[in-house]
């Protein structure tokens, strides 16, 4: 009965109290850091920071659920990298001549690099989940509507339709379970079911389109600017976003967080690396310390 979908709900947290534009920038800074950095220790600390931020925003359980679901990408990424990479030196298995693919030598370096990439993908999944749970989509889209009303509204509609269609398909699946013979089996049955789902979705889309028509979608104009004073939460998250990007650039452009997977695994791990990781952790979590004025 309960939807497993992740959608925005206004909760009592500093992140939810921050204006959508700043919150989106803050989340974008986490993605940027994820993309810039490769050092496993720093990435692991960033993962912990994101999970802790999720807990601070009141969506920790949802993030953990998302991490469990996302963990299925780990093995395929590592496996593909091990099979296609030819750069490592530490061979732990030889598959022999694979014809057009050359020698099938599986290396430790490919396993490590595949794991780092999987960790980065996991981080991106978590950051996206955090954004969808804690950044007000209506406010974000209002900002975008000032640029292109229809595109933004279509995006808004798509956002709204996801839970609606998911609820529809959940309902349909439940209805099929109540058939005396159970849900249709075999390829033909599944095709019929898929057709019914698509047909239902199109009916839904038509109804929503009719609603939009009568709400003036066809004559839509630019959304008005909604003035809102800059709060201390806005300032804190903006400062945090800047700090995260600066630290990530520091890690990328200097040797502080240098990591090479090929030809042999080499990771700089010194006080500076630990300090960078700690700095990132502090920068991400600092805005959550201020809970004054947060609605309960």
């Amino acid at each position: 009965m309960r939807s497993m979908l992740l959608y925005y709900r206004r909760l009592a947290s500093p992140l939810h109290a921050t204006r959508a534009g700043v919150a989106a920038l803050w989340v974008a800074s986490l993605s940027t850091a994820t993309l810039l950095l490769y050092h496993p220790l720093v990435l692991l600390v960033l993962l912990i920071a994101v999970l802790a931020a999720g807990a601070g925003a009141g969506v920790g359980r949802s993030l953990l659920r998302s991490m469990r679901t996302g963990s299925i990408v780990w093995l395929p990424i590592v496996l593909v990298n091990v099979l296609v990479s030819r750069d490592g030196l530490t061979v732990f298995a030889r598959l022999g001549d694979l014809g057009p693919f050359g020698q099938g030598n599986l290396t430790l370096e490919a396993v490590v690099f595949g794991s780092v990439v999987a960790l980065k993908v996991m981080l991106l999944i978590l950051v996206t989940t955090l954004a969808s749970l804690a950044v007000d989509p209506d406010e974000t889209l209002r900002i975008l509507r000032r640029l292109s009303f229809r595109s933004a509204l279509t995006a808004s509609l798509a956002t709204r339709m996801i839970p609606v269609l998911a609820a529809d398909s959940q309902r349909l699946a439940e209805a099929q379970r109540t058939r005396p013979a159970g849900p249709p089996r075999g390829a033909r049955g599944r095709v019929a079911l898929l057709r019914a789902v698509i047909g239902g979705s199109l009916d839904r889309a038509m109804d929503v389109a009719a609603t939009l028509e009568v709400r003036g979608f066809a004559t839509a104009r630019r959304a008005p600017r909604m003035p809102r004073p800059f709060s201390r939460h806005d300032a804190a998250f903006l400062a945090s976003a800047i700090a995260v990007v600066v630290l990530a650039l520091l890690g990328r452009l200097t040797t502080v967080a240098r990591f090479d997977a090929y030809p042999e695994v080499h990771a700089v791990t010194g006080v500076a690396t630990v300090a960078l990781a700690a700095g990132l952790l502090a920068a991400v979590l600092a805005p959550f310390a201020d809970r004054k004025g947060i609605e309960r």
Binding site: D138, R171, R179, P180, L193, E213, T219, A220
Partner: protein, 578 residues
């Protein structure tokens, strides 16, 4: 034409690919501040007329359109729904498809923003409409997490945010419980009286809103069959469209009394004037005794363990991160028993039925079933996955469902009642009948005829020994199909008794007949009310005599189609409805 806010001039319309016209030569004028009720059976053009009024017909739906519709002087052939939306707010049946934004505040603001209002005007408009509709506490809530009633209110708020001069509503109460439905009608009346907003409301359960309407427009096969005040409409329905009669009007028709009443108050006043209802005590109608009150702390009814088709013992359904939906429900249903499950939206009715069918496992407690439980969920369309009716079930199963002649049709082209019967045939299955048949809100959007057919089908199954449980918001349907009623509130069974006990004594969960008679004799349906009133009373004139002697009365009309002639008074036991 002058002074009309909405005018139809010889309007005919045919949907694309359909031979039958949905509207035929409709001429109509509605003035500012009128509260108009749109009546008619399913498929007779109510929704199409509303869609033509707001420009969706023909701009959105296409098809063949003839004639002219003017809304506030704007010709709908030249102005599309977006332009007309500044004058007309529209509320459709399903609130789920009318919310397009993520939060309530953004939803209410959308129409204002898209019409180019400034920030201050948007903020003020949102605040005002939220206060007017009592949804200010919902402003920062996610639209996804609202209840059905809340969603419908927010959708109404979005339609009203631009302060339209006319509001068009298509069965807005069909998914609401009686309390939320009455609240919505009251709200519309207030808008109409305080803001002079013109209301055009399509509705099947006319008894709910006839008393507040200034005018009723009845559609018959796309044509206007009747256009007059509620009294004129009821007089017309008595002779020309018995299926549109309200229970009160039907009661009066069976009694041979005229004119038919438009409200409970009017009906009671008329009965009192004829000496059929005491001035002192409402329970004295007929000379029947007041039914026993249902047990407020409900105990499971005594059905022997071995005989129970369903036995729920202290069933709890608790959400991991949320409240308990069911709180220790104990319920036994015997074979052949028919039970109406009632309660507000969110009371736990659907969850209870899912537990009965085994779709959910209780977090605490136990559910025992004597055999298969067939569950028909709220949307019959969810069961249809084939292109033809005969592919969904066998010909043998189509016969009792009354669908044999429709074997080659697409299930999605069937009427609401036919779809429901087909879905019922699918879940009931072939071969051994289910031990329990559970139906979740099966009458949504159905007209009275379709409800009567479904009630008869459920009665037939019940008399064949199948236990039946129906979750419904419709007391009239509950009275027609069930012998026992269970009232659920906040996940608990708060009352469990015979239908005549439970549905006769309340305000909201009571039939119109019961409200007229003040619960006397446990009479729920017009037929029973007429029997009760026609029993020789304490020296009062018989209703027929009273009607004849009344200056208001004309010769009694024949009862409407499907009406049962009153039974001799001697056959009615005092205090018993059935």
């Amino acid at each position: 034409m002058s002074g009309a806010l909405l005018a139809f001039e010889s309007v005919s319309y045919r949907y694309p690919g359909v031979d039958e016209p949905a509207l035929s030569d409709v001429n109509l004028e509605i003035g500012p501040g009128e509260f108009c009720l749109l009546a008619g059976l399913s498929g007779h053009g109510k929704s199409t007329l509303l869609r033509a009024a707001c420009g969706l017909v023909p701009h959105f739906h296409g098809g063949d359109f003839a004639g002219r519709v003017r809304l506030a002087g704007l010709d709908t052939r030249e102005h599309g729904p977006a332009h007309l939306g500044a004058v007309a707010g529209v509320l459709f049946q399903d609130p789920e498809t009318q919310l397009v934004m993520s939060t309530v505040r953004a939803e209410l603001a959308l129409a204002l923003e898209s019409r180019g209002h400034g920030a201050a005007a948007v903020a003020r408009g949102v605040e005002e409409v939220a206060l007017a509709l009592g949804i200010d506490s919902l402003l920062d809530r996610s639209t996804h997490g609202l209840s059905g009633g809340e969603k419908q209110r927010v959708a109404l708020g979005a339609a009203l945010a631009g302060r339209p001069r006319v509001v068009l509503l298509d069965e807005p109460t069909s998914q609401l419980d009686p309390v939320a439905g009455d609240e919505l009608i009251g709200l519309l009346r207030r808008l109409n009286q305080e803001w002079e907003t013109t209301i055009l409301l399509a509705e099947h359960r006319l008894e709910r809103c006839l008393a507040v309407a200034d005018r009723v427009i009845a559609l018959e096969r796309g044509r206007i069959g009747c256009d007059g005040d509620p009294e004129a409409f009821l007089a017309w329905a008595l002779s020309d469209a018995p299926a549109l009669q309200t229970p009160a009007a039907k009661l009066f028709a069976l009694m041979g009394m005229r004119p038919p009443p438009t409200s409970v108050r009017q009906a009671r006043a008329a009965l009192r004037a004829h000496g059929l209802l005491s001035d002192e005590e409402r329970s004295e109608a007929g000379h029947a005794e007041q039914p026993a009150q249902p047990k407020l702390r409900a105990k499971a009814r005594r059905v022997p363990n071995s005989a129970a088709a369903l036995e729920m013992s202290s069933v709890w359904h608790e959400l991991k991160d949320g409240p308990a939906i069911l709180r220790g429900v104990t319920l036994r249903i015997g074979p052949g028993e028919s039970v109406a499950l009632m309660g507000r939206n969110g009371a736990g009715k659907s969850t209870l039925l899912r537990h009965a069918a085994g779709l959910l496992e209780p977090t605490r407690g136990r559910v025992r079933r004597a055999g298969r439980v067939a569950l028909l969920l709220q949307n019959p369309g969810d069961y249809f996955i084939h292109e033809r009716v005969c592919e969904e079930v066998s010909q043998e199963a189509l016969l009792p469902a009354g669908l044999l002649g429709m074997a080659a049709r697409n299930p999605r082209d069937l009427s609401g009642g036919e779809r429901q019967r087909l879905a019922l045939a699918i879940v009931a299955g072939e071969g051994d009948p289910p031990a329990l048949l559970a139906l979740d809100e099966p009458t949504r959007g159905m007209d009275r005829d379709a409800k009567a057919i479904l009630a008869r089908e459920l009665r037939r199954r019940s008399s064949d020994g199948q236990a039946v449980i129906v979750a419904t918001h419709d007391p009239e349907f509950a009275a027609a199909c069930a012998d026992r009623a269970v009232l659920l509130a906040d996940g608990r069974v708060i009352a469990d008794g015979t239908a005549s006990e439970l549905l006769a004594g309340g305000w909201y969960f009571a039939t119109e007949t019961a409200r007229i008679l003040g619960g006397a004799g446990g009479a729920l349906l017009p037929e029973h009310g007429a029997q009760l009133l026609q029993a020789p009373a304490r020296g009062a004139p018989s209703p027929a005599d009273a009607a004849t002697s009344s200056s208001l009365a004309a010769a009694p009309d024949a009862p409407g189609e499907g009406d049962q002639p009153p039974q001799p008074a001697a056959s009615v036991a005092p205090g018993a409805a059935r």
